[in-house]
Amino acid sequence: MNPHQPHIEIKKEITGGDFSTAGGISSELKNILQQAGLPPQFIRRVVIATYEAEMNVVIHAYRGTFSTSIYPDHVQVVLEDEGPGIPDVDLAFQEGFSTAPAHIREMGFGAGYGLSNMKKCSNQIDIQTQVGKGTKVMMTFWLDPSQVKSSVSV
């Protein structure tokens, strides 16, 4: 099998503000990764990060897409949204920084830990954002993190 060709590709839509189905895509991804027989610790860090990213689109943006490519040795996830964008990405990564409104905090979100946790759980995270347009979050997860440096850029 060609290691540069994804085994499985998934693309789903996310609706901003829809809390009843929020997290459903990360849940589906968890099932797929489990069926693929990947180690539980690896699956855990992937789906914690994608769930945080999925919730950020639901909470902070209007709509988005969630694309996953599963390779034999790594998983790549891209979340692209139409939304307000992030004016200061470095600030957004700081633990405790959040612009989440009161009704979001009442649900248990808005502590400002999402982005830093996504960074911690993934092997690489890149964010492209444009204020007034939207945000694109790209994360890569290596099964064997020692391969990170030798990886080809995509």
Binding site: F19, S20, A22, G23, S26, S27, K30, P40, Q41, R44, V47, I48, Y51, E52, M55, M107, G108, F109, G110, A111, G112, Y113, G114, S116, N117, K120
Partner: protein
């Protein structure tokens, strides 16, 4: 300490997952902040919380938690209980407030997520 023993200590009621109560959590965490749970709990932990929305179940699912106790008599809606049933996450509810629930479990020998490897 198994979930069944925890249920006794907290005089809790089972909302779903009766058949899953013989598991022992590796640690216990009390929180009303889901991103704290996602960032700091260990897998196979038990969560005590006052939150009852469906994202609590999603958080438990992603973090590989083995159960949730709702404190202060809180009770999620049926759709949320249903989601937990599907995901095989046992749910308990206790009349005790958060502090007293945590106190009883700690006194009973349970430990927190910063105390276990």
């Amino acid at each position: 300490m198994t979930l069944r023993e925890i249920k006794e200590l907290l005089q809790a009621e089972i909302l779903t997952g009766e058949e899953l109560l013989d598991i022992e959590p590796t640690s216990i965490c009390g929180s009303d902040l889901l991103s704290d749970v996602l960032a700091f709990t260990k897998e196979k932990s038990l969560l005590l919380t006052g939150l009852t929305n469906s994202q609590v179940i999603r958080t438990a699912e992603m973090s590989d938690l083995i159960g949730i106790v709702f404190v202060r008599g809180k009770r999620p809606d049926n759709a949320t209980i249903e989601l937990a049933t599907i995901k095989k996450i046992p749910l308990l509810t206790t009349r005790l407030p958060m502090f007293e629930s945590c106190g009883r479990l700690y006194q009973g020998g349970a430990r927190g997520c910063s105390e276990v490897k």
